[in-house]
Structure formats: structure tokens, C-alpha cells
Symmetry: C2
């Protein structure tokens, strides 16, 4: 129905995750409203992705050999937080409550998806553990794959002279108790803490 | 937080309609999984938009001077259906129930958005009306802007020797009567038809 070039445009946009034909059409029509300069700027932005690498040290996104965070001398070298993806680093950084180093696995061990430890950025993690590292915080999501990955990491780190911790599980802040699922409630009860008197 | 090239990519994707920072990030990470060849194919698809024109006759999208539909000799030259956008042409064509010509206004008259008739593809419509045209079907949406545009078109076409019709308003097929809004119910009652005995 549409001219060939337009169909090709729609097909290109359908490659984005969760974008079906209808959404791709909507995107295509909005691009049609843009000037050639705006389209060129967008093409340049997308083409830039070909220059993005993974940091040699931690695996986070970088446009140089090492990433911004690994190059930052002000950060605490004694802790490493292990996360699944680069998005997680950004989420933690937004809290401004962690000043240590990161290690990005770029995935999780998954029996259902057939992802094995050797496909992840794990060996470079064990290489990073030396006498300076006091604590490794495993910050994978509390999902099946996240838990499995945490168990595996704990196993390979246990011979190293380092404290291995895991982010706490419990009720999310601001949520209603009766909306929490059973597993979360059980974890919240198991991990209950004494209220400190000040 | 992210490397500059990645932030630029996210900014480019945020230009798409309804795409906020979160969705743009999701798109950006999915593009990161793709090979350079796939990215190049996508860039080519998007760049193709710069070659898309509007048909000289009807205003529909085209990569030549005239569009596929205007070049089609098998279509009925005696009726013109007037629609707001190219998407509407595709929607009507999908029904396979109309074999006449189209005219795409590329917008609707809108007092709220400040769109006036001279900004739309209207003058070329009146130029197309000659003794061969028997009927002009106004197929703008039954919204405020659509109704206003239909009234305007009816006014400028009334001196031409041509039947001007409007798509019927009423209950949508398959919908429940008690979910219909008041205006639709009123229109459906006003436009009630005698049941034909066969």
C-alpha cells in the first residue's frame, strides 16, 4: 500500500523492541514531519552506537577503553557491586548512596534461556579481587535467574578473602503490605530487624 | 552517567512520538545487541524517508511524482474519497470495499491548533472536480475538527455539479449499546434505517 521507501522505514522501526506495525507507522509518520536536518541528526545519533564499547575493567558501557566510573579516582576501591546490566549501574548511581566500584555481568545465568556463566563477564570479576577489595555486593534482581547468579557468584568467591553480601529483600517502600506477594512477605518476615532506640 | 555516544543515541530516540527517556533507553539497549550490519540496514531504512514525496494529484505518500493509487488504471474515476491522512487511505484500502480515487488533505481544519484551509491540500481537490466526477465522499473522522472540515468542504463543493456524501455515524459493529457515548447514540437514532425484507 505505502510506497516502498516508506514500507522499508516501517520495517526498520519494527526492529525496536515491543514496536509493532501500528506503532512503527506512527513513528514513521512523525519522522515525515521532520526536516532533513533533524533526520540527519537522528541518523548520526543512531550511527554512534557502533562506537560504543564495554569497559575493559568493569563491563559498563564506554566510548573509551575504560569507563567514566572506573576512571574516577574519587571512588572507593574497597567495594565492588555486581549488577546484571548497565541500566542497573545508572539506577544505583541515581540514588547517590554508593561510592564504590561496579562490575557489570551483562546478563544473568539462566537455565531457561540457556545462558551459562562462561557467557557472562564473570572471570574478569574474580581477577579483580585482590587484597584491596573488602566487600563484593551482589546486586542482581530477586528473580529466579538473579538468585541463581547470586548463588553461583557466592560459590566462586567463597575461597577469596572477601566479604560477599547481597541486597536486602523485603517490602518495597511506600507499598501496601496487602499488595505484597507471598515470597516478598516471607522474606520480609525472615529478614526482620530490631527497631533501634535512639 | 552513560557514555556521550550512548546519551546521544537515547536523545535521538526520544524524538519519536510518545517515547520518553525510559523507553528510549530500552530501545538503545536493544540496538546495542544488534550487529553493525543490522544497524546499517536500519539507518538506510530511516534515511529513505528523505526521498518520500506527496503525490501531485491526491497528496498520498509516494516515491514518484504520482502515487501507486493514482497510477492504477483499473480504479473508478467517478468517485473521490476525501481523507485527512495517508493512514486513512490504508485503513480504507484494507476493507477492499472501495475502488474509487482518493484525496488526502494531510490534516484537518482546526481552530484549536490554528490550522486553516489554505494550509491543507484542498485547492487541488476542487481542481480535480470535473464532469467525470459523480460523487465526493467526505471521510474525515467524526471529531470536532473532522466535522468542521467536512462542513467546509461541503460548502466549497456545493456549487460544483457533484454529489457530496459523508460516511455514516452510528454504533460501531460488535460494540455494546450501553458503552456507546450519548452523541453516538443520538446519531445512531437519527440515522436509523428501515430493515429491508428480503
Amino acid at each position: 500500500m505505502y510506497p516502498l521507501k516508506f514500507e522499508e522505514l516501517i520495517a526498520s522501526l519494527e526492529k525496536l523492541p515491543g514496536v509493532g506495525n501500528k506503532t512503527a507507522q506512527r513513528y514513521a509518520f512523525s519522522l515525515l514531519e521532520k526536516s532533513h536536518e533533524e533526520i540527519d541528526a537522528m541518523l548520526e545519533g543512531i550511527a554512534g552506537i557502533k562506537e560504543i564499547k564495554r569497559c575493559r575493567i568493569c563491563g559498563f558501557l564506554s566510548d573509551e577503553d575504560t569507563c567514566l566510573l572506573c576512571r574516577d579516582d574519587t571512588r572507593d576501591n574497597s567495594t565492588i557491586m555486581v549488577v546484571a546490566n548497565s541500566q542497573d549501574v545508572v539506577a544505583i548511581e541515581k540514588t547517590q548512596s554508593y561510592k564504590g566500584r561496579y562490575h557489570v555481568l551483562n546478563g544473568l545465568i539462566s537455565s531457561s534461556k540457556g545462558i551459562y556463566p562462561d557467557e557472562l563477564n564473570i572471570s574478569s570479576l574474580t581477577d579483580r579481587i585482590d587484597e584491596n577489595i573488602k566487600e563484593v555486593i551482589i546486586a542482581t534482581s530477586p528473580t529466579l535467574d538473579g538468585e541463581m547468579t547470586a548463588l553461583y557468584l557466592n560459590k566462586i568467591l567463597k575461597d577469596k578473602n572477601v566479604l560477599v553480601t547481597r541486597l536486602a529483600h523485603g517490602l518495597p517502600m511506600g507499598a501496601s503490605l496487602d499488595y505484597a506477594d507471598d515470597l516478598t512477605l516471607i522474606k520480609a518476615m525472615d529478614n526482620r530487624r530490631k527497631i533501634e532506640n535512639e
